[in-house]
Each structure stands twice: as C-alpha cells, then as structure tokens.
C-alpha cells in the first residue's frame, strides 16, 4: 500500500465551541474532520461549564500548510480565554490528494 505523509491536528475544546470551531475549520479549507465527545481536566480546571459543558475532541487530517494554519488559528483565537488545547503529529494516509 503506497502511503503519503500528512499532518493530523487534534483539538480538545469546550463543547460549547463546537459549531463555531467546525465552521472555522471549513472556512480554513479542511476537507473533513472527525469529532467525539470527551471529558477532561486541565489547568483551567472547572472553568469550563458543568452543565452541558463537556469537551469535544476534533481531529483533522491535513497537509502541512493547512495544519499549520489551523494550529495558529486555534492558538490565536482560543488559547487565552477558553479551555482549549491542541497538538499535531504525523500520519500516513493512502490517498493524499483527499486532504487539503
């Protein structure tokens, strides 16, 4: 199986941000994303809301440039005031052209 290298950005965020964040991912050019409901603890601890205030975890497989853009966007717009973290790593995919 021939594979190509892509980047994967993972964002963990307060679930209240879901609609906004996914809209921004589309606007930045992501060809797709996968979302799951999670819970967590972090440095901002209980600052997230208790009721209806769970976290989501979003994964986006993307090219180097888009991954960089997503990471920068999240850092700029969310890190200061929201309970949001993000990380990037490398993955190998089969059809590289599928991912912007």
């Amino acid at each position: 199986m021939e594979t190509v290298q892509r980047r994967k950005v993972t964002i963990v965020a307060e679930s209240i941000l879901e609609d906004r964040l996914l809209g921004e991912l589309r606007a930045l050019g992501a060809s797709g994303f996968t979302v799951m409901d999670v819970r967590g603890e972090g440095s901002r601890g209980r600052r997230t809301m208790d009721l209806g205030g769970r976290n989501i975890r979003v994964e986006v497989v993307a090219g180097v440039a888009l991954a960089e853009a997503i990471l920068a966007h999240v850092a700029d717009h969310y890190f200061e005031h929201f309970a949001v973290i993000a990380w990037v790593d490398d993955v190998e995919v089969v059809r590289g052209d599928k991912y912007a």
């Binding site: 600052r47 809301m49 009721l51 929201f82």
Partner: protein, 322 residues
C-alpha cells in the same frame, strides 16, 4: 391557610427539594452516582417542551387582553434587573465590567426549573395561577441577557449583535418553550389529552430525577463558594429576595392574582443556568465562569428552591393583603 413556617417546612419536605439534597449529599460523600449526560439532556428537553405545551393549552383559553400587562411587566423586569445588578456589581462589588456584565446576565434571565418549582409549590398549596405564566418564562429569558451583554460592550468594540441575538432566539430553550406553546395552543385541550400522560402525568416524577442531577452538579461547586468571596455570596441571596419582592409588586400592579404575582416574583428572583452561561461564555470569553456559575448554581438555585419560593409567596400575599 398555612403559616409561613408551615409552608417553609412543607416545601423542604417536597420530593424535588429532597432529591436536590440527595444529589448534593452524594457528591459530598464522593459517591460514584452519575446521571448519564444523555439522560440529563433528554430530561431538559422534556421539561422545556412540557412547560411550553401546558402553557400553550392554557394560553388558548386566555383572552389576549389579560396577558398584555403582565407581559410588559415581565419585559420591564428583564430589561431593568441586569442594569441595577451591573451597577451594584461594579460599584459595591468592584468587579470589572466584563465579570459584572456576565453575572448580571444570569440574574437578569430566568431558570425554567425554578419556575416549575414555584408552580409545584403553589399547586400543592392550592393557590391558583394564571394559565399563561409559561409565556412569561419565554419572554423573560432573553432580554436580560441581551441588556447585560450590551452593558459589557458599552465602552468596547463592536460585537456581532445580529448573530448573538439570533443564537439566543433560536436556542434550545426558546425553541422548545415557544414551539411547545404554539403546539399546545394550536392543538388545543381536546387533542392534548392523548399526550397528557407524558407531558403532565410524568412531570413531577421526572423533575425529581432532574433535580437529583442538579444537586450532584451544584455540590461540586460548593467548595468554590469560599473562592468567590463574601460579596457574591451575599449578592446571590439578597438579589433574589429583592427581585422576588419587586417581581411580586410588578405582577400585582399588572393585575395578576396572588399566585401569578408569586410566580412572576420567583421568575425575577431566579437566575439562569442554561441559556445565560452558554451565551456569556461565547460573547464574554474573558469573564471568569466561576464567578457566575458558582453563585447561580450553588447558592441562588438551592436558596430559591428551599427558601425563596415560600418567602416570595408570603411577600405576594402581604402585598395583595390576602
């Protein structure tokens, strides 16, 4: 006619107050009891829809004239309460504009569950209320939040008001409350009968489970109460009493019965923990959520549930001299 003390202790022994207490105790005992998220979400959909439906059926019977003054009164309360809350929090509490507005948004809006609790209290006490009170919940929910957000931005840059207001008006609670009311009013009492076993029959029992979860959640914030400081603790008790009396006065002036005035008072006294937190978190991200969630959930809600409701009813009775 029961004495105020009787009413208070009777209220403390109601299943919903006791269920809240059980949830709180379970948290304090570090029990592994957890209400599934899906159950909590389902119950809150059910409660809002049921309030709407019952209100709509009652509304169908009301004459439009009856409701104009109380509606205006409710709108006035929704617009005015956040303003003075904001001023008090800024001046006396020395909070920054963002935190002050965030807290004011919560106290300017309403809690649907507190509405349900006062309805239950009055039913059990045999005090009738106007059927259209549920409409006032919907009317009171949004204005307080919008006014408070406007106060926060008074000195700042432009915000996307259109989008913020659209989000508030299409939020889950408004869609279910207003949608339920329209369904109830259109289908009418006859057709409503087939769904009554769910939306009326189950109401009190499911409320017990909902309050169990609220108790679990509220108690997780008990330890933060110290952190929010004595000013906010006092605010979270004094403002509901004040708003309750003002609401009862406004309701009386608008021609409501003693039951209706009690409900309007309790609505004014209540603080939102669904619509307001969601809107404030997005619109005022710099506000510290602990400063609004802890007073609302850990102080004002249980205070109203246990003490505020009978107290405000007593005030309404004194005001109307009955």
């Amino acid at each position: 006619m029961p004495t105020p003390i009787d009413a208070l202790s009777a209220n403390l022994l109601s299943p919903i107050v006791l269920a809240f207490a059980l949830g709180a105790i379970a948290t304090l005992l570090r029990s592994d009891l957890k209400i599934p998220d899906a159950l909590y979400d389902s119950l809150s959909i059910y409660l809002l829809l049921a309030i709407g439906l019952k209100g709509g059926v009652a509304l169908a019977k009301a004459s439009p004239g009856e409701i104009v003054l109380p509606a205006l009164g409710a709108l006035a309360l929704g617009a005015a309460t956040p303003i003075w809350c904001f001023a008090i929090l800024r001046r006396l509490g020395r909070f920054g504009p963002t935190d002050a507005a965030a807290i004011a948004a919560h106290y300017g809006s309403v809690s649907a569950v507190t509405f349900v609790a006062v309805q239950t209290f009055l039913e059990r006490s045999g005090v009738p209320t106007e059927g259209f009170m549920a409409a006032l919940v919907a009317l009171l929910e949004v204005p307080g939040i919008v006014v408070a957000l406007m106060l926060a931005r008074s000195g700042g840059q432009g915000t996307n008001w259109r989008e913020t207001v659209r989000e508030l008006l299409t939020s889950k609670s408004i869609v279910l409350l207003v949608g339920g009311m329209v369904i109830g009013a259109l289908s009418g009492p006859e057709r409503f009968k087939s769904v009554e076993p769910v939306f009326v029959g189950l109401f009190q029992g499911l409320l017990v489970i909902f309050l169990l979860e609220l108790g679990l959640v509220a108690a997780r914030r008990f330890r933060d109460v110290r952190a929010v400081g004595p000013f906010l603790v006092a605010f979270a008790i004094v403002m509901p009493v004040l708003h309750g009396v003002i609401g009862a006065l406004v309701g009386t002036a608008a021609g409501l019965s003693v039951g209706g005035a009690t409900v309007l008072g309790v609505l004014a006294a209540s603080a939102s923990y669904i619509a307001a937190p969601a809107a404030v978190r997005i619109a005022l991200p710099a506000a510290n959520p602990s400063l609004y969630l802890t007073p609302v959930l850990a102080i004002t809600f249980p205070f109203n549930l246990a003490v505020g409701i009978p107290l405000i009813h007593e005030a309404a009775r004194i005001i109307q001299g009955v």
